[in-house]
């Protein structure tokens, strides 16, 4: 029995201590979860941006080729020159937006490193080692209790309580100071993906329209036999039509990331919200893969 600690103080101190440590751990876990989602978002949106650029070039090429038979050579020169210039601007803008995304990713990564609760565990292990050595010298220490817990139970949680709350406080301060900027950043990301989603939808639909005419309608309407892969092609093209209409999923994921940030600020970003957000962000990757796999020319 530890004579120097009054039973009432020890009974009160340990549960309160454990409760406070639990709150700190939960808060750090929120920051850690959000930072993981943020990093995943930047990577997924980067892939989507690449596809938006590729789809813009393909869509424009499809229009130029469609118009070509009805244009004079002078018309053709004017049109391809102006479109090349505009597409070069587009691709430059997209590269610059991606470059900015890398900075955002860096921010999320360092936020995640700060919220990482793994570091203090090594200190707990060392403290346990010291205790075990001392316990061999003193049977009284080995059997000693603080409240209803043994001293040994108490050790690993002593060290994190020093560092974790300080980290949590630093993160809360960062949230207060940088919160409006991050909110603005995420709103801009949402706007950017909304514009790109709109453009990808149009570019893919243009491409599909022309492919449908060339590979499905014209062969079917003509008196010749349809090609042997006509049914497969039709199936592929119709499924890609569905993909072009779901490009909005990317912008919706960005919107959800923004809402999640607001929940983080309000200390309400739980594991269920994180799982839902990660699923939405993964849908950007799924969509990008489908766009890449769409039947080409």
């Amino acid at each position: 029995m530890i004579r120097s600690l009054r039973p009432s103080a020890s009974v009160l101190a340990l549960p309160l201590f454990l409760l406070l440590q639990g709150c700190v751990s939960a808060r750090l876990a929120q920051f850690s979860g959000f930072s993981q989602a943020g990093v995943a978002y930047v990577k997924a949106s980067g892939a989507f941006i690449d596809e938006a650029g590729a789809a813009a070039v393909r869509g424009d090429s499809a229009l130029l080729l469609k118009a070509r038979p009805d244009l004079t050579p002078r018309d053709r020169l004017e049109q391809i020159s102006s479109k090349n210039k505009l597409l070069a601007q587009r691709l430059l803008l997209l590269r610059q937006i991606k470059r900015h995304g890398q900075l955002l990713q860096d921010y999320f990564e360092v936020l995640g490193s700060m919220a990482d609760s793994k570091a203090p565990e090594s200190l707990g292990v060392t403290a346990q080692g010291v205790y075990d050595s001392l316990a061999k010298l003193s049977p009284a220490l080995k059997n000693a209790k603080i409240g209803s817990s043994t001293v040994s139970d108490f050790i690993p949680s002593v060290v994190p309580i020093v560092v974790a709350p300080l980290k949590a406080r630093t993160l809360e301060k960062e949230l207060r100071e940088r919160g409006p900027l991050i909110e603005r950043e995420l709103a801009l990301q949402e706007a950017m993906l909304a514009v790109l989603a709109r453009e990808i939808q149009t570019d893919l639909t243009i491409e599909l329209n022309m492919q449908t005419t060339r590979e499905i309608i014209d062969p079917y309407v003509s008196d010749s036999e349809v090609p042997s892969d006509w049914t497969t092609k039709r199936d592929e093209i119709l499924n890609t039509t569905v993909t072009s209409q779901s490009a909005d999923a990317a912008a919706q994921a960005a919107h959800k990331l923004r809402l999640s940030f607001q929940r983080l600020a309000a200390n309400q970003f739980d594991s269920a919200a994180l799982s839902s957000l990660i699923a939405d962000i993964n849908s950007i990757l799924d969509l990008t893969e489908k766009i890449k796999a769409a039947p080409g020319e």
Binding site: A67, L71, K83, H100, V110, L141, V151, V158, V163
Partner: protein
């Protein structure tokens, strides 16, 4: 920015829908009886709509990029500050590792041994 983005997107949708119509099988069918001049005019109209669409989307993305770039100083400050804090915590943890963890155990042992 939200209102402006909304306006950009609404106009882009209008232009995009026009192009989708002009590349549809129904449009092709309607153009089959057109004269050479009419077909040339239709082709040029389609490419002008495409030009307007590319120009508008570039303007929207340019505005967004400008606003994102304005955020970069703040993001960079956040990164530097958090990295500095992280380094301070790592140093603190090393000190705790070597001193405080032992002291906290000793503080509990002394009353037992006394």
């Amino acid at each position: 920015m939200d209102d402006l983005a909304g306006l950009y997107i609404a106009t882009l949708k209008l232009l995009g829908d026009t192009l989708v119509t002009m590349t549809s099988a129904e449009w092709d069918a309607a153009m089959q009886d057109a004269t050479v001049a009419q077909r040339r005019n239709a082709a040029l109209l389609m490419l002008r709509v495409q030009e307007a669409r590319l120009t508008l989307a570039n303007a929207a993305l340019g505005d967004i990029l400008e606003a994102l770039t304005a955020n970069e100083d703040g993001l960079q400050k956040g990164i530097v500050r958090l990295r500095n804090s992280l380094e301070s915590f790592e140093r603190m943890e090393k000190v705790l590792n070597s001193i405080s963890s032992v002291l906290s155990i000793v503080a509990r042992i002394v009353p037992l041994i006394a």
